[in-house]
Amino acid sequence: MDLTPITQRISEKFAALGHQIEPAKVEEKLARMINEFGVPEEEAERSIVSDYSREFGLDEQIHPAVVASDAPDATPIAEVKIGDWATIEGVVTVLFESRSPSVAQSGILADQSGCIRFTVWAKAQAPALEPGVWYRFESAAVDEFNNQPGFQVHSGTAIFPIQHDQLPHIETTPIADLKRGVISIEGKVVSYTERAEGPVHIAGVIADGTGAIRFTIRRGDTTPEIEEGGWYQIEYAVADLYRGAMNLQFNAGTRITQISDDRSLRPAISPIAGIKPGIVCVRAKVLQEYASSSERMFQSGTLGDESGTIRFVTWKDESAERLAPGMAYTIYYASADEFNGRLSLTLNGATCLPDDASAINVSPIPERSAPETATLEGVVTVLFPPRTASIAQTGIFAHQSGVMRLTVWANAHAPVLQAGNWYRLESAVLDEYNSQKNIKVTSGTVVTPLTGEATPQIAISPVSDLKPGLVSIEGKVITYTPHSDGPVKAAGVIADNSGGIRFTIRQGDQVPGIEAGGWYRFDSAIADLYRGAMNLQLNAVTRISPLPGDQNLEPSITQVANIKPGIVCLHVKVVQEYESTSERILQSGILGDETGTIRFVTWKDDNTERLVPGKIYTIQYAAADEYNGRPSLTLNGSAVIPDDAGAIEVKASGDEVIGALVHISPGSGLIKRCPVEGCGRVLTRQNYCQVHEIQPDFQYDLRIKGWLDNGRQTWDTIISREGVEKLLGLTLEGAKEMAENNPLGLETVYYHLCEELLGRYISCQGRVIENRLFTSSCSYLSFDPARHADLLNRSEVTSHE
């Protein structure tokens, strides 16, 4: 194994402290500990570092000793790395309510460089942290928290409050340059509003010559002594992002000093094109005013300057001032927010001073193209309660070539639409929002209800060709299951010779009775995508007529590789059966054919049977879904017919890697895992989990960590228990026994593994992610005579003979 990186790290560490160590010596020590004594790499490194530290009398400097030492420098929060044991200094900005008895406190710590989440474990018996107070944490374990570093206070962490006079000095930063973290600024309070209700007690804006920032003080926090119009030096406040904009938080540690000398503030005006979320000053012309779409809105419209345009809104309050269209204004300290991916300015609280309109050359606003209109005949399938007063009705409208969202504007004064009825919508507006099609009934739209003869006839389509919209099909009801509660009254599967489709009937929809096994013609049903699969909705407009005679239904078989969400028929072999993980599961496992494999599950109910592993079945009308991005099959409700005569050679899915196992890392073999749910980290030989500390009730596991190499590429490989068991011909139980009956303990298994597997060619099925391979299915490679013959031919030298 390559010990160079560790050797280098150790010798550099001491070189930095003025002690030269010969790398070869370090490497030798490492090699001895790691290779001969099987000491884990990290442990070997620690032990060698402490040996040398003792030798050089450096104990204090290298070891984060648990004393309030002037020893290790704190790591800036922005530079803390996952996996570090770090010393961190900062101020507690927020404490969250603990959700678990094992967590004493959690919150956010900030320093000049940034913010980090922290967790104080109850076991740590640490003193209670207070918001606004600075602390020094020595030996905090840095771990991952939603992909971001977070740190943990455990029993080995030392916590010291930092006195006010010992806080690090923080340079004053111009407001425009603020970054997340603890900061100091000098600025003028340009707005200060006390609110009577809500969690925010005071909100305001502080500005300097470079820009402005919002600040908020929560109810219950101490109110700083500041007034509108005053200049202050504000030290040890915390800047953080809130909805994309920088925000200032005061806390108990924040120091505020009034600046007595007279200063003037020249607000920084930003061009409209350069606006980012936050507080801004602009100089702009009112280009447009919109008709108000809400009771609460005072005015809305568009502002423009030479660089671009932006929407603005003023909500109704005492300070609301109307801007005159065509006039220019300098607007101080408006709030820019992002809404639906577009910036808009809120003018409440801002100061708007009239300006010279002729001085602003507005870049032309792009012409809004005329809305696309269409005339469509279709069915209102469902209506939802509208969310604003400006909308009279919302719902879904299905027509022959699609299903779209329906909006009826209140000012359209259209007749009230009924779900389940046919309508012709003339000159309705079509648009697309969030890639969803919308049809809008405006004052220009003519709405005509259609009944009887007037409703269009829809031609019959094969089930496999259905597209979203109103459709007609002829088919056999394969299953019909009434539901006793929920929004769906009944569900089932209908099939014709081209395929099957799931159908649903909603509660409240009047649909004539149908029975499983019967053939029907369904006129005007609604096909739409639901979770990626085509689904058929039968409702009051659907006309259902029984078809006479007994028709022959021949299920069309789908190959496993071509399965898409929906209803499918398969001819497959049961490749594998999993141990049941849930009370409700009757059976789960893997099915496969020549084209690939798919997971399946059968839930417990009265009339489903278990499949026999290794047997071949024809499965008719099973439901295929996507689960965690991978297709999966539910067999409940499908017909399963054993096929004793057939033969299927199943194609393995996933990646296959063939190579020689050229390295087996320590940490392979029989290992102990942390039993805490969701953790599973490998414990040290002292049963220590780096997060959950000592875990005497660990779980054993078998694995190989190593490198698989095919001569051109190497894979950092993890072979999980099933794979190791198969290669070694040794079960987990057997490995445990082996370890128990040998003085070397767990290492016996490691040595056995190396002896049996190192330098062997194996073939692995699994997942390759970049240069990593995860596999649980491996076998030894055997000599391939066909390949031998081929190579003999290929290596034949024909020339110059």
């Binding site: 194994m1 160079t4 990186p5 280098q8 070869a24 490497e27 030798e28 090699a31 001895r32 290779n35 001969e36 922005a78 530079e79 803390v80 790395k81 996952i82 570093p149 020689a660 050229v662 390295h663 490198w707 190499d709 095919n710 001569g711 051109r712 590429q713 190497t714 950092d716 190396c754 002896e755 190192l758 330098g759 062997r760 060619y761 970049e770 240069n771 990593r772 490679l781 055997s782 000599f783 391939d784 005579p785 390949r787 031998h788 190579l791 003999l792 290929r794 290596s795 034949e796 030298v797 020339s799 110059h800």
Partner: protein
């Protein structure tokens, strides 16, 4: 913290498959980069760099040198010749493994070994350039592994010979080594013929 440092992965050089006859002719070695810890490579006559090899053959000889520094030397025979493999105190794992493999004798059953190691070019006292393998791991394996290795090594050697792209390594190899590609092709063919069907 940047994503890069958090997810930086260790890229390992693949262990090249090379027959003893080709390996024995290797004389040119170089360093990639100028730092102390930069990897060193040898240039194979078939035109590819190599800083690790995987080889399987018959254990032909085993010597232990006593004295200040303990180290083992073994000879490993493949169909085309011998590899010289050594393991010293810097390769304790390999040393341990070699020590535990039975010394070959005339009567004993043939022992196949798999070796993973680093190529090492050095100048012998008589001025010749010699190449050996500093073992990282050694394992006793079956004849079937050896046969698989011959197929694997034949495949990789032919791939090197059939490569048409004029890589800097290939250009350099043509400049240094005089053998024509037919020599190596014949070597591959002969090696394949030793497998009894």
């Amino acid at each position: 913290m940047s994503e890069q440092t958090a997810f930086q992965r260790y890229e390992r050089e693949p262990a090249k498959r090379v027959f003893a006859a080709e390996f024995r002719e290797t004389s040119y070695h170089f360093k990639e980069g100028s730092e102390d810890k930069s990897p060193t490579f040898v240039l194979l006559p078939t035109g590819e760099r190599c800083n690790r090899v995987f080889l399987v053959g018959l254990l032909a000889d085993k010597k232990k040198s006593e004295g200040d520094a303990v180290f083992y030397q073994i000879k490993v025979k493949d169909p085309s010749g011998f590899f010289f493999v050594s393991a010293g105190s810097y390769q304790p794992e390999a040393m341990h493994q070699i020590a535990s493999i039975e010394t070959p004798t005339v009567e004993a059953k043939p022992t196949y070994v798999a070796v993973i190691g680093k190529p090492n070019v050095f100048n012998a006292p008589d001025g010749r350039t010699l190449v050996s393998v500093r073992a990282e791991s050694v394992a006793a394996v079956s004849k079937e592994v050896h046969d698989c290795w011959i197929l694997d090594t034949a495949t990789r050697t032919l791939e090197r010979l059939e490569k048409t792209e004029e890589t800097p390594d290939l250009v350099k190899a043509k400049e240094i080594y005089k053998q024509s590609s037919d020599v190596w092709k014949r070597m591959v063919h002969e090696a394949l013929k030793t497998i009894e069907i």
